[in-house]
Symmetry: C2
Subunit: 133 residues, 2 copies
DNA sequence: TATTTATCCCACTGTATTAGTCAAGTATTA
DNA sequence: TAATACTTGACTAATACAGTGGGATAAATA
């Protein structure tokens, strides 16, 4: 796993939305300003989150985004997988993004990387937005 | 951490060398053929490993590479850090490659990623070539 | 109904990284 | 001294990263 700005910005925005619970929809521009993120780029990320059902949106005045489900039902794993792909250190040990790679031949090496994958995915699957907001 | 071919090939080559203990120097071409890796690319990686002292080399006929220290004294962490950089999921929680990133403001998020970094580095620092060869 | 506000959607750009290749030169030793 | 292997540097194609920009669409409000 390697976090890029995509995951980082998305997580910051989601934390922001989790805290804005009950305040209706939050505009991208408001979030971008509050968190100091590039607005147009953030917009792309929110659209991806929307397609995945993590957020809901509303157009027009007082429009914007809000969480698609309770913060306690959104895991960090979902967010990172959606925006940056595999949590595993190499695709040959990834469950959701499996692809063959050269280390695959060395079973003992593979075992080490699988243990890392297991730790990372368990950790991120058990941590929700509610835990970090 | 994200393993690229650089780390993967280097690890395979080092495992090969660890197994060839006592057979003197192993040529790049021999290793490349045995492991099915691109020779010239592997050569670059071995040079980096050499500069870091992980392997020694000898030119001329019967030349090649061998481990620079006992396999039990070479950790996977060293190899990966050398060729692919930080073990941490994001640079803002990296000890050796620290750089500020946006998530840094959110202490609770940061804590999660630090725990991942700790697991990964401990794991790879405690695993040596001797363990996987 | 017209205007404003905001999302939605598409294309595009510049830079860096990845995964190599190629050529020419240097050192070693059988 | 010829063969073998390491060393250096430049070069390349493809992909990923981190954004920008412009226009269309939808909804609220005046």
């Amino acid at each position: 796993m390697k976090l890029t700005r995509r995951s980082e910005y998305a997580l910051l925005a989601l934390v922001h939305l989790a805290r804005a619970k009950g305040e209706g929809y939050v505009a991208v521009s408001a979030m971008a300003e509050a968190q100091g993120l590039p607005a147009k780029f953030l917009e792309q990320l929110l659209m991806a989150l929307k397609r995945a059902g993590l957020v809901r949106s509303r157009k027009g005045p007082h429009g914007g985004y809000r969480l698609g489900r309770p913060a306690s039902k959104i895991t960090l794993a979902e967010v990172v997988r959606l925006l940056d792909g595999a949590l595993a250190p190499t695709d040959s040990v990834s469950t959701y993004f499996y692809e063959s790679t050269p280390v695959e031949r060395e079973k003992k090496l593979l075992k080490v990387f699988k243990e890392i994958r297991d730790f990372v995915s368990t950790k991120l699957e058990r941590t929700t937005l509610a835990d970090v907001a």
